[in-house]
Amino acid sequence: MSLLDIDERILDVAALADIVKSPVVDSKEFPDVDVAIVEGAIITDQHLTEVRHIRAHSKILIALGNCAVTANVPAYRNRVTKEEALKCAYVDASSNDSAGQMPDSPELGKLLDRVRPLHEAVKVDYYIPGCPPSADLIFYVLSELLNGRTPNLDKEKLKYG
């Protein structure tokens, strides 16, 4: 969704590329694409399957935002076990009643032991860090790639805060 922070320039990107799948586009299949942008850390087995699937169908994969790049705040969970985290939320929280069930139906992704950044699971071609990632940098990287150039992501362009 950080992609939308480029505001009106999304229309410039749309002029150069077909945005075939995103939270704002309805298509539910993942076709072969030139560029895939992935946000978020890998938390569940489903995320892992998805990111591998995306990698296999994309020429270029961009990790967007600190969660994708470093696992950031979600990785705070790595200090505790997943069982402790689940018990805290679904059993011990002050507002919980005593008749609750643990979310474990087969539709749900299973938590991995550790939360991981994207590059620990798949090859990442470009990293755009930031929380939020800079809209100008997102637009710069996309317009370079869409014009067949290699974006220059020197140190001074990268900001993690």
């Binding site: 705070y76 969970r77 939320a89 539709e107 749900l108």
Partner: protein
Amino acid sequence: MAEPSSYSKKIIINPVTRIEGHASITIDLGRDGKVADAHFHVNEFRGFEKFCEGRPFTEMPSIAPRICGICPVSHAVASVKACEDIMRLIPPPAATLLRRVMHLGQMVSSHALSFFHLSSPDFLLGFDSDPAKRNIIGLAEKFPDLAKRGIRLRKFGRECSERIAGKNIHSVGITPGGMNLGLSEENRKALLAWIPESIETVRIGLDIFKRYRQKHMVEVDSFANFETLYLGTVGPQGELELYDGKLRFINEKGEILNDQIDPRQYLEFIAERSLAFSYLKSPYYKPLGFPKGMYRVGPLARLNVASSISTPLAQKEFTEYRQIGGKKPLHGTFYYHYARLIEALYAVEEMKNTLENPRVTSSEILACAKRNQAEGIGCSEAPRGTLFHHYVTDENGILTKVNLLIATGQNNAGMNRSILEVAKKQVDGPNVKEGALNRVEAAIRCYDPCLSCSTHAIGAMPLVIEIRDADQRTVRVIQRAK
């Protein structure tokens, strides 16, 4: 062996597009082939409540907004209020004004995203139009001026945070005790300059909704229309309030159940049930128990509980809105969109009032205190509904317990029920049309759920519908054709 007609089936929609976060839907068919039940599976979990334990409480206003990139200001506000409760401190008036501007700005940008980017393609291009075009970019091809207006309205909202706190989201401006950064006269003027255009854009949105309603009256009125209780924040006279106020519960007839509740008492009125099919818990109104105490929050709920709106243009719209239901609350889920636009209008008008307050550029914006009690509770109205942060600390100010009650969670029961109502009308056996599936999803989109928020998880990938038979066999998985 059973006859094919004698077992029932299940539909899955996965991923649900045009919502924030990650979810799927299962539709269970009975032996007669009709829809028997529906479940909305929210599939994200991060565990904030656990991993924040052991950290100083003063870190929470920086960590908690990371729950969500759409409503970080609401999290920051609820969080600093909980911290200030622990410190027994009242922030300076100018700091409250600045927080209000940021909070109203976020309401505008989030509501703009929900209406113009995510929902207006259904209104303007049609529920049954080409899925590949049914988005903000398809909208821009057909209605370029409108799409740009929607994009700019969202930009204005984010600019409020940027001009006060230097960053459009996850700023460091809001801090326990007040604000780290103030508003310059130049930035105040720049924000005020946005007001006329923003009011105009929201009114265009209202016009789109009203015209759609005129044309599709029956569908709009009957779309996922079911009775629930409602919760929202109101001011001292029962007027709509988003930043600071007291809670009001009403019943399905519109009668007030509890009024002017201090948010610190939330545990007396709200309990949550964990359910196996979702990482999203189901809160309920405690006096009535589960599931009878199902209530809804967010724009529809806030306008159902409010007695009035303090700004003139929004009050005029509110009067018109209220006439639809007469004395009763509006239960039709589609009216979330309408209520959201009226709130956006209020937010822009109220932002103008706040920015015109001479105190807003004051530099007296930060008070100091240490921990003065163990426990603190903070509340604010997030774009999607009432939000609670509840912290318990030890004598060194280290968090020993954290409870977060998120807006979307409180609409969980409502979303499940809405899907069931729509599925009953749109799905008959496993043969389902694309437009029908989009309507099931549209029911969820009315609530504008931010699933990352509500399960404290980050997810950017959207939904699948699975149809299951009465023996829990999957008979169809629906992934839209491109």
